[in-house]
């Protein structure tokens, strides 16, 4: 029993760290530290730098650009990215549709999409949730009816993250409304966002930002060759994809970077003749979250160690639901601490934080204050998306506790 990295692992971590320090644009990094919304360009530029190094899609099968890393290497890579902080790679490309196409797609689909997906020449968005299908995803109603060599798609998707940037959307659609079980009549379709009949409408979140959308489909014609795998087998592919989604959900590096930042800023904030960091209540609150995070980090490492034993194609570990629950709660705790730090300067509401011209500029109060309120409100989403924390509890109840 041992918590240390091997010499090879430490060397790998150092190599990743050095790469990020060398290649990450200082402007992107500064935006991330200040909590400003990063734009499409920041994400694309960074993804292409990673791709040039061969690190854009390390988790994919090796023949399509994967690195064949151990679970520990994947963990170290992700953690270094998170705590730099550097932009996370676009999950819709790298951990969702990419692996699905690589595993279940046709040869033509692989050739057409995989290199472009890795290099972010195609920006994907995810068409899963619907107004009536959230946690109960299999209840989705968007239909695709076969007419000759096209599917005709009608319906509505929602919570579609960054659809405004997207070139393509991967969709779950109902192809057999008569199927005995609702999971059985679903197919996985790839649709060009420029196809006539698609309308994207923004949804503004509590922070004023525009990151999610409603997407409407009105008689949208999709060539049948854009079906992934077999018709009516889409639910299996979706489960495969959602298993990947839970891998990095703890986001230990993100919380670590944010807690360091909280400590740094609390030492600047004055309380009487002292600083906020001098206040015992604040130090204890911060220490408490650091302890929770340390426990999460080790729990994550235990899951990583198990993954090594399960092998690459093993079942997803239900313990990753614990990572989701605690990881989301701790990330949210960091946003509360950041509100504590800025105090009264949490109040100013920037009209739109993703439009830099409209950010309160020059800043009201310290420059680090602007993101505290928006992030607090926005990050309530973390315990809701990716399978709400209540759904995660259902998973643990069934898969671990045997209820």
């Amino acid at each position: 029993m041992d918590l240390n990295l091997t010499a090879e692992e430490a060397a790998f971590r150092d190599e990743v760290r050095a790469f990020i320090a060398r290649e990450l644009s200082p402007e992107t990094r500064a935006k991330m530290i200040l909590g400003r919304e990063i734009g499409k360009k920041d994400i694309v530029d960074w993804q292409r730098k990673l791709n040039a190094r061969g690190w854009a899609v390390p988790n994919w099968p090796v023949e399509y650009g994967g690195q064949g890393w151990s679970p520990m290497q994947e963990y170290l890579f992700q953690t270094e990215i998170e705590q730099a902080p550097a932009p996370a790679s676009l999950p819709f490309n790298t951990s969702m549709v990419g692996p699905v196409i690589a595993t279940f797609g046709s040869a033509e689909q692989k050739a057409k999409f995989l290199p472009a997906t890795a290099n972010l020449d195609i920006w994907w968005c995810q068409g899963f949730s619907e107004p009536g299908a959230g946690s109960d995803l299999a209840g989705l109603k968007t239909t695709a009816r076969r007419e000759g060599d096209v599917y005709v798609v009608n319906g509505q998707k929602t919570w579609t993250t960054m659809a405004q940037y997207a070139d393509w959307i991967f969709m779950l659609v109902r192809t057999n409304p008569q199927a005995e079980k609702k999971q059985q009549g679903i197919s996985f379709l790839l649709i060009d966002m420029k196809t006539p009949g698609i309308t994207v409408r923004p949804i503004q979140l509590l922070d004023g930002g525009h990151e999610v959308n409603e997407v409407f489909f009105d008689e949208v014609k999709v060539p049948v060759e854009n079906l992934v795998g077999e018709e009516n087998r889409g639910w299996d592919y979706a489960k495969f994809l959602l298993g990947n989604e839970r891998m990095g959900i703890a986001r230990v590096g993100v919380s670590r970077q944010r807690l360091r930042r909280v400590r740094e800023l609390a030492a600047l904030e004055r309380v009487g003749d002292e600083t906020l960091l001098d206040q015992p209540w604040f130090r204890e609150k911060l220490a408490n979250t650091e302890i929770e995070l340390k426990a999460l980090e080790i729990t994550q490492l235990r899951v990583v160690a198990e993954a090594r034993k399960r092998g690459k194609h093993g079942q997803p570990d239900p313990n990753s639901s614990i990572l989701k629950i605690r990881g989301s709660e701790i990330q949210q705790a960091t946003t509360e601490l950041m509100m504590d730090v800025v105090g009264p300067f949490v109040a100013p509401f920037p009209a739109s934080i993703d439009d830099e011209d409209q950010t309160n500029d020059p800043p009201i109060g310290p420059d680090y204050a602007a993101a505290a309120g928006p992030t607090y409100f926005n990050w309530r989403k973390i315990s809701i998306y990716g399978g709400s924390n209540e759904i995660q509890r259902n998973i643990i109840a069934k898969a671990i506790l045997g209820f």
Binding site: L259, N288, I291, L296, L301, I322, A397
Partner: protein, 384 residues
């Protein structure tokens, strides 16, 4: 990075697990052990001796097996799961640790074989009426008199103090009550004139004692560690004991969580197993989440015990104690609630896990105490 036990360690776990299930598998036996004069059954202690568990953490030079923190973790986790009541943690992990690190060669040669064979038991006399959880808050005075010291004062809640053949006593040899220096540890034979004790049962089935030291003469050769500089040694061994205590708590929490889940699956109301209700399932899940987080921190504490930098070591151990204390309280309370009425009866085992877990939070400093220590040390995150 490796969370697996090696073959030897697995063997220790299995053989101790067997020993404990033969001694504690019938829960009614535990009560009969508690009612014995010594507060536990000497035959179980003899089993430990025979199985090499008492000698496990002692150096090979003194007849031990040279076990480290991971071996201690394994033993304590099994003890926690079995709800065993022998004073292993205080007598073996804590006191032997102090003697091994601070005893003279003569003392080690004299005492350690007796402890390893089960012939002698030691206890740490440290808590005082006004000290709460501060190890450096020491009033009991030791005055030099020739080649002896004369101890005068009182110690409280000495776990295993009723049966101890030897006490390790924290005493003030110079300075003021709360000074960090001026603390000296003495190994005191319990039969020394002037030592008197009053033993009593504790909430969780152990035995403790109030010890009075009235003009007790102790040879200077019985000092453990260095005169006036006993505190760092004490902290080192208490940290090791806390790590063991965390492992014990994990063993108890895992057993109690499993018991609770079994109960939810078998207890029927409204014509169904109550575990079919989502409200109860989610509470059980929250217990499981707390358990896994606690287990992670117990591992962290165990693997930090041998850390060379004392401040890093103590902060890591305190952080673990915070997590364990909170998890213990949450799991104990939730398990009791989910069991309903049976959970608050003396006859049911679950309530005794709850009691032990509650006392574990109090031992060597509760969650709030250790949170203050972590906060004062500047937290857990090294600067980037």
């Amino acid at each position: 990075m490796d969370f697996d036990l090696n073959d030897d360690q697995r063997l220790i776990k299995e053989s101790l697990g067997k020993l404990l299930s033969s001694r504690y598998g019938d829960f009614a036996k535990r009560d009969s052990y508690i009612k014995q004069q010594d507060g536990f059954d000497r035959a179980v202690w003899a089993d430990y001796a025979e199985a090499g568990i008492l000698a496990l953490p002692l150096p090979e030079a003194h007849g031990g097996f040279g076990g480290g923190p991971v071996e201690t973790m394994i033993v304590l986790e099994e003890i926690g799961a079995a709800l065993a009541i022998e004073p292993y943690l205080t007598a073996i992990v804590l006191c032997c640790g102090l003697i091994v690190r601070g005893g003279s060669d003569a003392v080690k040669a004299d005492i350690l074989p007796k402890i390893a064979s089960g012939a002698a038991i030691a206890a740490l006399a440290q808590v005082e009426r006004g000290s709460r959880f501060d190890l450096h808050d020491v009033s009991l005075a030791a005055r030099k008199d020739g080649d002896h010291y004369v101890l005068e004062g009182e110690k409280s809640v000495v776990i295993g103090g009723g049966v101890a053949d030897h006490f390790i006593v924290t005493a003030r040899t110079s300075g003021q009550r709360r000074d960090l220096s001026g603390i000296t540890l003495f190994l005191v034979d319990a039969k020394t004139p002037g030592v008197s004790r009053r033993a009593y049962p504790t909430q969780d089935g152990y035995q403790a004692a109030e010890i009075s030291f009235g003009q007790v003469r102790v040879p200077a050769a019985q000092i453990i560690g260095t005169l006036d500089q006993g505190l760092p040694l004490l902290r080192r061994s208490v940290d090791e004991a806390i790590a063991g205590l965390c492992a014990e708590a994990v063993g108890a929490m895992a057993a109690l969580t499993e018991m609770t889940i079994d109960y939810l699956k078998t207890r029927k109301q409204f014509g169904v197993a109550i575990g079919s209700f989502q409200a109860l399932q989610h509470r059980a899940v929250d217990m499981q989440v707390q358990l896994e987080q606690a287990r992670s921190m117990a591992i962290f504490a165990t693997l930090s015990v041998d850390e060379e930098d004392a401040a890093t070591r103590s902060t890591a151990v305190s952080a673990a104690k915070v997590q364990i204390g909170r998890a213990a309280r949450f799991i104990g309370q939730t398990a009791t609630q989910l069991h309903g009425g049976i959970g608050v009866t003396q006859e049911y085992k679950g309530g005794h896990y709850f009691k032990r877990l509650t006392m574990i939070d109090q031992m060597f400093g509760d969650s709030e105490h250790h949170l203050r220590l972590v906060a004062a040390a500047g937290g857990l995150l090294p600067a980037a």
